[in-house]
C-alpha cells in the first residue's frame, strides 16, 4: 500500500510495506491514483488521455520509472508480515515503569493519575520494594542485557530516598547478572535541588521534564497545591538540569501536554525553545471527552494546522534549531519490522509497578484492578495477560492492517484504546488521526533535509 500527501511543497509517497519514501512530480502524483499492483510492463494507453495535463513523453517516462520502482519492491510492496505476527509469543520483561510515588506536589488538571494517587491512597514506594522490583526485572529479563527503568509517579522526587537506593542497588548487582540498567526519570521539577540534579545527571540516561510552555498555559493546568504558579519555580531548575546535561552530552526532553486550552501549542514549543531547551515534546492530553479541556474530533482541523505551522517553522533554516519528539523519524535505521508489529511492549516486555509492588501492563493501567498482573515481592506475573498483549499487534487490532501508518505507530497506545474504546485492540480514532498527521510532518522534514542536500 502507498500513502501520498503534500507537505512543505513536496509531493511525497510512502510505500508502507517497504518503508520506501519518494518525492514525485505532479504527473507521477496523479498517475499513482490510476495504478496498483501488479503493474504491467506496458503502460495502459488510456493514461495518455487521462493525464492530459502532461505530454505523452512525460506520461510514458513517468510510468516507466514507477514500474521500475515496483519491480524493485519500493512501490506497492506486498504485505508479507502477517506470518511473523502469527508466531508472536511473549518476550522477556526488560523494561519497567516504577511508580515510586503515588503522590504529587502539583495539581495538574489533566492528570491521568488523578493528581498522583491513581484513585487510591497517597503513598510512596519503600526502598525495599524498589530493590524487589530490580530483582524481579533481572530475573524476568532472561537473556536481555539492556534493562530500562523509568522513575515515575505521581512525582518521583517525593520518594527520593527510594530512587537513590534503587539505583545504587541496581548498579551493585547489574554486572554479576550480565545486565546494564538504563535509568530515566519523569519529573515536574518542583523538588529539584543541586544534589538531585547531580545524581540525575550522573545516573539517568534520559530525563523527561514536564513543562507545558508559556507561563499562562502551564500555570492554568499545572498549578501548585495551593493554586500558585509552577512555571516560575520550575523553569530555572530545568534550565540548570539541561545546561549540565548538554555539557555531558546526555539526553533529555522538555515535555509539554497540550489541551483544548492551547490549541495554538506550536507557540508553546517555540516558547520552550526561547528558554534554551532544544529537545522538545508536546503530547495530546489523555482525557475523557466530557472534560472541558479534552481534545475532540472537532479540534482536529486546528490541531492539524498547528502541526503544519510547527513543521514549516522547523523547516525554515532561519529559525532556531530544535528536535520535536513526534517529528523525529529515522526512515533508514529505525526499528526492525518485528519491533514495529506491536510497538510499546505494554504488558509484554514492559510493565509498571506501583508503590506496593503490584504489577500492571503499563503506567496508564495502574489502579485498574482487572489488569493487575502480579507483585514483584513474590515474582508472580499473570501469563494470560502477557499472552494477550503478546498477541496484540497490528494484525490483530481492528483497522490497523489496512492503515498506511501501521509500521510507524505499531497500532498505537493499548491503554488509550482500552480507556477510550474499552478494548486494547480497538485503536482510539482521535489518537490515530493525530499520529498520522504528525508522521506526515515528520516524513516531510526528512524529505526537506534530503532535498536541500540533493540540490
Amino acid at each position: 500500500m502507498i500513502h501520498k500527501f503534500r507537505q512543505l511543497g513536496y509531493n511525497i509517497v510512502l510505500d508502507t510495506e517497504s518503508n520506501a519514501v519518494h518525492v514525485v512530480d505532479d504527473c507521477a502524483y496523479e498517475m499513482l491514483d490510476l495504478i496498483s499492483a501488479p503493474m504491467n510492463e506496458n503502460m495502459p494507453e488510456v493514461f495518455i488521455m487521462m493525464l492530459n495535463d502532461f505530454s505523452e513523453e512525460q506520461v510514458r517516462e513517468t510510468y516507466s520509472e514507477l514500474y521500475e520502482l515496483w519491480q524493485k519492491g519500493a512501490l506497492f510492496c506486498s504485505d508479507d508480515y502477517r506470518r511473523f505476527s502469527d508466531t508472536m509469543v511473549k518476550s522477556p520483561v526488560k523494561s519497567m515503569c516504577l511508580n515510586v510515588a503515588h503522590d504529587c506536589n502539583l495539581r495538574c488538571g489533566y492528570c491521568f493519575a488523578q493528581t498522583g494517587d491513581f484513585g487510591g491512597e497517597r503513598c510512596v514506594m519503600s526502598p525495599e520494594t524498589g530493590k524487589a522490583a530490580i530483582d524481579f526485572l533481572i530475573k524476568s529479563s532472561e537473556n536481555r542485557e539492556n534493562l530500562e527503568l523509568d522513575f515515575f509517579g505521581g512525582e518521583p522526587l517525593m520518594a527520593w530516598d527510594t530512587v537513590v537506593e534503587t539505583v545504587k542497588y541496581a548498579r551493585s548487582v547489574e554486572k554479576q547478572h550480565g545486565k546494564h540498567f538504563r535509568f530515566t526519570i519523569t519529573t515536574n521539577g518542583i523538588l529539584l535541588d543541586d544534589e538531585k540534579i547531580k545524581f540525575i545527571n550522573s545516573e539517568m540516561s534520559n530525563c523527561v521534564l514536564s513543562l507545558d510552555g508559556r507561563r499562562e498555559v502551564n500555570d492554568k493546568m499545572r498549578p501548585t497545591v495551593n493554586g500558585g504558579s509552577s512555571y516560575d519555580v520550575i523553569v530555572p531548575k530545568f534550565q540548570k538540569v539541561v545546561e549540565e546535561r548538554r555539557r555531558a552530552n546526555k539526553d533529555y526532553y522538555v515535555r509539554a501536554t497540550f489541551t483544548k486550552n492551547n490549541l495554538d501549542f506550536a507557540d508553546d514549543i517555540i516558547h520552550l525553545r526561547s528558554l534554551g531547551f532544544t529537545q522538545l515534546s508536546a503530547e495530546p492530553v489523555v482525557a475523557d471527552e466530557k472534560e472541558p479541556y479534552a481534545l475532540t474530533m472537532d479540534d482536529l482541523p486546528k490541531i492539524f494546522s498547528e502541526y503544519d505551522r510547527l513543521c514549516e517553522y522547523m523547516a525554515d533554516e532561519n529559525n532556531p534549531r530544535f528536535n520535536f519528539f513526534h517529528f523525529m523519524v529515522d526512515i533508514d535505521q529505525g526499528p526492525c519490522a518485528i519491533k514495529r508489529l506491536r510497538g510499546c511492549g505494554c504488558g509484554n516486555d514492559y510493565v509498571a509497578v506501583e508503590p506496593h509492588g503490584d504489577i500492571y501492563p503499563c503506567h496508564q493501567f495502574v489502579g485498574i484492578e482487572n489488569w493487575k498482573m502480579g507483585n514483584v515481592a513474590d515474582g508472580t506475573l499473570n501469563e494470560d495477560i502477557r499472552n494477550y498483549f503478546a498477541k496484540t499487534h497490528i494484525y490483530s487490532k481492528n483497522g490497523c492492517s489496512g492503515c498506511w501508518a501501521k509500521f510507524y505507530c505499531s497500532g498505537g497506545c493499548n491503554a488509550n484504546a482500552f480507556i477510550y474504546e474499552g478494548d486494547c485492540r480497538t485503536p482510539h480514532i482521535i489518537s490515530c488521526e493525530m499520529q498520522k498527521k504528525r508522521l506526515e510532518c515528520a516524513l516531510a522534514l526528512v524529505v526537506n533535509k534530503s532535498m536541500k542536500e540533493y540540490e
Binding site: 517497504s18 512530480d25 519492491g73 518476550s91 530500562e148 526512515i331 526492525c336 510499546c344 505507530c409
Partner: protein, 47 residues
C-alpha cells in the same frame, strides 16, 4: 528527466527475518508516556 526522487529505498522487509532481538528501548520509556511512537526509536542490534 526524472519524475521520481527516492529518498529512502526501503529495507523494512529485510529487517523482518533477523529482527526482534529486543535490545532496543521500549518506546514509552522515552518522552511520550501517553502515545505510542515507535518509529523514532533506534535499532540497537549492532551495539
Amino acid at each position: 528527466m526524472s519524475h521520481v526522487i527516492t529518498i529512502n529505498k526501503g529495507n523494512l522487509k529485510a529487517t523482518a527475518e533477523k529482527g526482534g532481538c529486543g535490545k532496543c528501548q521500549s518506546s514509552c520509556q522515552s518522552a511520550c508516556k501517553t502515545s505510542c511512537t515507535v518509529a523514532n526509536q533506534k535499532c540497537e542490534a549492532e551495539r
